[in-house]
């Protein structure tokens, strides 16, 4: 199978501290990459650096065989990002926030009703984000991922703030995404059990 997302000889510093060096990974269609490690080991930093929010000291991340820094636009149109800061405006309601997203990236608004239904957000779609619970806000962020036509999902601690049903939901949608040929990179301190091809990077 061909590698879609790969990292070569990656080294990352935060301040004076070297978080890791000579790190390698490769990911093909339908595969999940789990970044593991204790608190402070640099899981989030690695994830942010792969996405392009941080700069690696050395090394190259490639997407479809081309270094990301040479075709970052192609990479970003295939990328959707989820973290504990959900990236929605508290004063706007769910629909307004998701509509804004559709101006930024390729997304399928025809599925909007189905997605909201599945995430149990239908009844509250016109409430401002700020009155929602942290778990509900997480679900709206999941809606962004489901609506986006993006091959690569990057998730930072996707289970935080979610109840049992929510956690099952995250696993279900991730599994479906992988089955449809998507890729997923997850940073998590708790073990993730998703059947399918899983690769792991463990940071110390």
């Amino acid at each position: 199978m061909t590698e879609i997302l790969s990292g070569n000889d990656l080294c990352l510093f935060r301040g004076d501290r070297c978080l890791f060096k000579n790190l390698e990974f490769a990911l093909s269609e339908g595969e999940l990459l789990v970044i593991e490690g204790p608190n402070g080991s640099g899981k989030t930093s690695l994830l942010r650096a792969v996405a392009g929010l941080l700069e690696f000291e050395t090394g190259t991340v490639s997407w479809d065989g081309v270094p990301v820094r040479k075709n970052f636009q192609a990479f970003r149109s295939d990328l959707v990002w989820l973290s504990h800061r959900v990236g929605f405006k508290g004063d706007l309601n769910i629909l307004e926030n998701l509509k804004f997203e559709s101006g930024l990236r390729d997304s399928d608004q025809t599925r909007l009703a189905d997605v909201l239904e599945r995430l149990s957000l239908s009844g509250i779609a016109d409430l401002p984000i700020r009155v929602l619970s942290a778990g509900q806000q997480r679900r709206v962020a999941l809606a962004r991922m489901l609506l986006a036509n993006a091959r690569l999902w990057m998730m930072d601690e996707p289970f935080t703030n979610l109840d049992k049903a929510g956690q099952v939901l995250v696993k279900d949608v991730t599994r479906e995404h992988l089955l449809s040929g998507g890729l997923c990179v997850v940073a998590s301190h708790q073990p993730i059990e998703i059947d399918g091809s899983t690769r792991r990077v463990t940071l110390q």
């Binding site: 996405a51 392009g52 929010l53 941080l54 700069e55 075709n71 636009q73 192609a74 970003r76 149109s77 990328l79 990002w81 973290s83 504990h84 800061r85 959900v86 990236g87 929605f88 405006k89 508290g90 004063d91 706007l92 307004e96 804004f100 997203e101 559709s102 101006g103 930024l104 990236r105 390729d106 997304s107 399928d108 036509n149």
Partner: protein
Amino acid sequence: MTTASGNHPGIWSGLVAVIRRDVLLAWKRPGDVLNPLFFFAMISTLFPLAIGPSAEQLQFSGPGVVWVAALLAALLSLNSLFLSDHEDGSLDQLILSPQPLPLLALAKALAHWLTTGLPLVLVSPLMAITFQMPAGTISIMMLTLVFGTVSLSLLGSIGAALTVGLHRGSALLSLVILPLAMPILIFGARTVSLAAADDAVAAGIYFLAAYCMLALTLAPFATAAALRISNE
């Protein structure tokens, strides 16, 4: 790298989306729009109280006062330009979107102008009248303020992007941006003074327009670079 196929949003759609979102946010929180206006009015009131009520003196200092007040009011509001985006994670989403970041930065600055600069321009005649400014001068003043506030929103967006997420951000923003904003103040205020003295004003207006164009072209790139650095 073509993104035109399918239902990929076009190159301007991110810009439009950001402007629409920020204006909508301002609409939902009118305080954010009104506070700089009150601040503007307050500063304009300070000067007559400090200088004295003599009509001649007020007429003489009016252009400078209105311009200083507009500059400070615009700076006050610039501090929060990227603050909420940084705190709620929207900035991550903007940086990681396939839309070119300089265009999104331009959109943020334009939205700031629509919600701060434009209202300032619109209420400035009220201040001018209290400074006994004649009607002909007022229209020139509004024209200089249009170019000046657009330039300030753009220049200030660089400073706001550089200082977002820093503890002493607001004081620092003024320290960093004020010296760079001097040409806008000088040309803006002097042009209005010249207009009041029935002198030629074309040079000042051309300069402000040229500065505005330069800021429109270059500032978004600096803001985008600064945002990437500050958001690390």
